[in-house]
Every structure is written in structure tokens, then in C-alpha cells.
């Protein structure tokens, strides 16, 4: 594939939508993706392979797999993008394995699965998610669907040298060590790779350097601390793993064109007005 992939950052643990004529560039994300074709036909590229999907077919994309949906004529699909950690019964299977075949024909699906998909489409982005931290209804439906799907296919452990596996381990590591040492040498060491290979792999598949990804995750974590707490800037910088207040300040300004203090004051003023 000549096309350069993009890495999609998404924070919500669950996102569901019904899309018509979905065309998207080549991308990957931390979440798993489930797509059901309600009408029409659809082409789906996953990891170099092309799948032709017809009405009633279902496809499951594992976390950090490169994929690209493409519509030729007309297609209506129901898509949910969800964290592997959300479906606690299958977190392990979703992160450590993939399936020998990731498409499912309509005839294969159990009636309960079809019903669960119908319900997912009906709820859309449901009320329960807005009110609570965990989208319970979606979680329940996805558990039912995945239970059926995983029974029908064989689980194959991820190839340890495949890029999607490396990327998922990379993100798991930086997520759990954000406040510690995240130099490229340290990360590569924990993944048992050479720094240059890791760096090349990450840059090729996400379009960003490992360092830039680390910085953006750290800033993501610093933002809520700025407006939700009264911690001093140097304290927040230390908590989110920046080596000094100055480097935090510089990176923050580069990313958001505002200094941390300006951001905090503006956000608080907004809240007061509400």
C-alpha cells in the first residue's frame, strides 16, 4: 500500500454511528471496530487484504489493525468503535489474538446476534453513555455479539513482529508509564526491540514519531488537571512526566497556542459563565 496511514486518537470508550457511503482513508486506532452492512455493498481493506462485503455481513477489526472502508455504489453500515477494556469478558482475546477470518456472512450469525446489532443501531449514541461512565447497554450487546463471533472462528495469537502488535504494546506501555521514563531506549528495551526499529515502525504506521506521541498523551492527561484541580503548574508537569516546568510550558504552547495558565483561566471563566 502506498497510502500513508493515519492514527486516530479517540478518547471515548464507545462510539457508535450509522453511516451512509462511508469512505475513509487508511487508518488505525487503539479501539476495536465492528461494522455491519445494513444495505448495499462495501469494500473493506484490512492489513493488505481486501474483503467484499454484502448486505447482512459483518466485519470485526482488531485494535491497531490498519483498515480502510470504501464504498463503490451505495452502502449503509452500522459501525461501533470500542475499547478492548470496555468488554471485560473479551479484553484478553481482543488484545492478544486475532481471528483466522474476520468477516462473517449473514447465514452464520445467530439470531441473538442479529437482534443485538439491531438494538445497537437503534440506541445510536445512547442516553446511558451521556449519564454514566460506562455505556452499559452497548457493553451488554457487544458482549453477546462477540461471544457468538469468537465461537465461530479460531483465535490465533498475534504475530509478535506484526506492526499492529508492536503498536498496541507501545501504547499500552506509554499509557501505564506516562509519569516515568519514556525515552525511546526505555520503551524499546521493554518491548525487546532495537530503538531504531521501534521508531521506524511507529513512524511508518502512525505518521508521528514516538516522542511526539508520548508528548501528546502527556498533554492529554495534563489538560483536565489544569482546570479540575488547583495544583501548581510545576506539580502538574511533574505528575505528567515532563522533566521540567519549562519543557511542559513549551510543548503545551506549541500544541494549543496558549500557555497552561491562560488555558486554565479561560476554561474556568467559561465554566463560571455556564
Amino acid at each position: 500500500m502506498k497510502e500513508k496511514p493515519a492514527y486516530h486518537f479517540q478518547k471515548a470508550p464507545y462510539l457508535g454511528f450509522v453511516a451512509e457511503n462511508n469512505n475513509c482513508h487508511l487508518h488505525l486506532h487503539r479501539q476495536a471496530e465492528l461494522s455491519y452492512i445494513a444495505r448495499g455493498e462495501h469494500m473493506f481493506y484490512i492489513d493488505q487484504e481486501c474483503y467484499h462485503l454484502k448486505k447482512g455481513d459483518l466485519i470485526l477489526v482488531f485494535p491497531n489493525q490498519l483498515h480502510k472502508p470504501e464504498t463503490k455504489n451505495y452502502c449503509k453500515e452500522i459501525t461501533c468503535v470500542f475499547d478492548a477494556a470496555l468488554i471485560s469478558d473479551f479484553t484478553y482475546q481482543l488484545t492478544e489474538f486475532h481471528l483466522d477470518q474476520c468477516t462473517f456472512r449473514r447465514e452464520e450469525l445467530a439470531p441473538s446476534t442479529l437482534e443485538a446489532i439491531g438494538e445497537l443501531a437503534r440506541t445510536g449514541i445512547s442516553k446511558s453513555y451521556k449519564q454514566h461512565a460506562i455505556p452499559f447497554l452497548e457493553k451488554g450487546y457487544l458482549t453477546v455479539i462477540l461471544e457468538d463471533l469468537f465461537q465461530k472462528r479460531k483465535l490465533i495469537p498475534f504475530d509478535p513482529v506484526s506492526p499492529s502488535y508492536i503498536i498496541s504494546r507501545f501504547f499500552n506501555f506509554i499509557e501505564t508509564h506516562l509519569d516515568g521514563d519514556l525515552s525511546i531506549a526505555a520503551i524499546a528495551g521493554s518491548l525487546h526491540m532495537s530503538p531504531s526499529r521501534l521508531s521506524a515502525c511507529i513512524t511508518e504506521y502512525t505518521g508521528k514519531t514516538p516522542h511526539a506521541l508520548v508528548i501528546s498523551r502527556r498533554l492529554d492527561r495534563a489538560r483536565p488537571l489544569l482546570y479540575k484541580t488547583d495544583l501548581s503548574i510545576s506539580e502538574i508537569a511533574r505528575m505528567t512526566g515532563f522533566s521540567s516546568e519549562r519543557s511542559f510550558y513549551r510543548n503545551f504552547k506549541e500544541m494549543y497556542q496558549k500557555s497552561p495558565i491562560e488555558f486554565r483561566n479561560k476554561k474556568r471563566a467559561q465554566r463560571r459563565n455556564l
Binding site: E115, R122, F136, K139, G140, E147, D148
Partner: protein, 273 residues
């Protein structure tokens, strides 16, 4: 008089209860969910009586004393689901820290999605071999996700701590025949007498003595069925001082003497007091 019933050792037990089925007043650490498919049943939960008609749902929280009676005249069929708190880890917090102000849900209150999930669960109960615990957990998550946010929850005065509760009831069962006292229990667990008189009732809804008696009778029930010991031996084993007090208490709770119960159980293994 109250019994402690342990329906099952599994963390999930699901079945259909037909007309005429009854359960006398009892309590257990599992959560009970009942959904009436046809006919009607009477539920007494925590001293309030509800008549549950077709399409209505009831949720019994851990240790709430309850009694269930199916009406005999009509064709009654009830879906009963009993599960441990850790079967649905997402809701563990809610079950241990809150209670619900209502026990039953009217047909109109239930969302469309909940009804569908319940009919799926019914199907699972009819053909238990075709469904896995995981898919049942999935549908149950859908049902509970709806129910829990219908009403404002009430914070419990004392949170349920299952490991502690389990160890304390285990201790009581093990030391039953030694005639242990409240002081023994207090010193073994480092709790105060205040705990036994006040906190106990917040957790178990009944007072300490009632609970202990129920635990003793429960153990006696088990011995009556599994052994051919004399009544006297069973009475002593369960911590009663003499046969008379055992028989009296047993009759009060079950409506018949231990001996009668044993005979009936021999004739009909499914007999329930």
C-alpha cells in the same frame, strides 16, 4: 420466621418457575431477579407485599428477606435469575453501596430494549445448554443498565463487604455445636457488641439472634436430609441445648416436626417446607 436458602453454589442460577411453586420467607446473599411471563405471583419483599402481573419485573437486593407465591388458578410461569454480585462486576459497586427505593417495575416502565433482553434470557432458560454464561451476562448487563438508572438510589448506611460477611457466616457455621457466644464472635473478628446489635441489622435486615437461629435450622435441614442420625444428635450438632427446643423452633419455622420433614423428604425428594 425466616430461613436462609442457598439456591445454588454456582454464581448464576436461572430457571422457570411454574404454577404452584412457592418459597417461604427467606434471604440469601445472591441477587434475585424475577420476570413474570404469564399469570401472576405475590412477592413479599422487606415487609411490603406486591402483586406482580404479567410483564412485570422484581429485583431483590442481597439479604433482603422475601417470600414468593405463585397463584395456583392461572397458568403461571416466572423467569427467576439468581446471581452473585461478582457475576456482574460492573454493578458490584451499586449492589454493595446502594439500595433501590422500589422493588418492582411496572410493564410501562421497562424500555423496549429491556423487554427484548428479557425475552432472550427466557430463551436461554428454556434451553440452558445452548447458551454460555458470557452471553447471559451480556443480556443481564442490558437489563440492569436500564433498571439502575430509572430511580434515584439510596445510599446504604453500611456497605456490603462480601469477604467479611462470608468469613463471619463461615465462622458461625463451623463453631455452631460448641455453643459459642457473642463475645467469642466479637473477639474473633475484632468487632464491637454495637456491631452485632446495630450494624448487623443494616446488613442482614434481621437481628443477630434471628439470623443465628435461621443458620442453625438450615444446617439441621441439611443433616436431616443427608444423614440418618437421631434427632437428638442433630439438635446437639446444630447447637441447640435439647431436643425440645430444637423441635419447637423447627416446627415454628417449617410448620412440621423434624421427623415429619425427614419422612416427607424420603417420599418426595423435591419437597420444600
Amino acid at each position: 420466621m425466616i430461613r436462609i436458602l442457598k439456591h445454588t453454589d454456582q454464581n448464576l442460577h436461572m430457571f422457570l418457575l411454574q404454577s404452584g411453586g412457592t418459597y417461604s420467607m427467606h434471604q440469601h446473599g445472591q441477587i434475585e431477579l424475577s420476570y413474570v411471563l404469564s399469570g401472576q405471583i405475590t412477592y413479599e419483599i422487606n415487609r411490603s407485599v406486591h402483586t406482580q402481573k404479567k410483564g412485570e419485573l422484581a429485583l431483590v437486593f442481597p439479604f433482603q428477606p422475601h417470600r414468593l407465591t405463585c397463584s395456583v388458578e392461572k397458568d403461571t410461569c416466572v423467569l427467576l435469575l439468581l446471581f452473585d454480585v461478582d457475576f456482574v462486576p460492573d454493578f458490584e459497586k451499586y449492589f454493595c453501596e446502594y439500595t433501590m427505593p422500589v422493588y418492582t417495575f411496572h410493564k410501562k416502565e421497562l424500555e423496549h430494549s429491556t423487554k427484548k433482553a428479557l425475552s432472550r434470557l427466557t430463551e436461554c432458560a428454556k434451553t440452558p445448554d445452548c447458551f454460555s454464561a458470557v452471553s447471559i451476562r451480556g443480556w443481564l448487563t442490558v437489563v440492569l443498565g436500564d433498571l439502575f438508572f430509572k430511580h434515584d438510589l439510596e445510599k446504604r448506611k453500611v456497605n456490603l463487604n462480601y469477604p467479611f460477611i462470608r468469613s463471619i457466616t463461615d465462622y458461625m457455621t463451623q463453631h455452631m455445636q460448641n455453643g459459642f457466644s457473642q463475645e467469642n464472635l466479637c473477639s474473633a473478628f475484632g468487632i464491637s457488641p454495637f456491631f452485632l446489635t446495630h450494624t448487623w441489622k443494616q446488613i442482614f435486615y434481621v437481628n443477630y439472634n434471628t439470623f443465628l437461629l435461621a443458620l442453625r435450622l438450615n444446617y439441621a435441614d441439611e443433616l436431616l436430609q443427608t444423614t440418618d442420625w437421631r434427632i437428638l444428635d442433630i439438635a446437639l450438632e446444630c447447637g441447640f441445648k435439647n431436643v425440645q427446643s430444637f423441635s419447637r423452633n423447627y416446627k415454628k419455622a417449617a410448620g412440621l416436626t423434624p421427623c415429619q420433614f425427614r419422612l416427607l423428604k424420603k417420599q418426595d425428594p423435591d419437597y420444600l417446607p
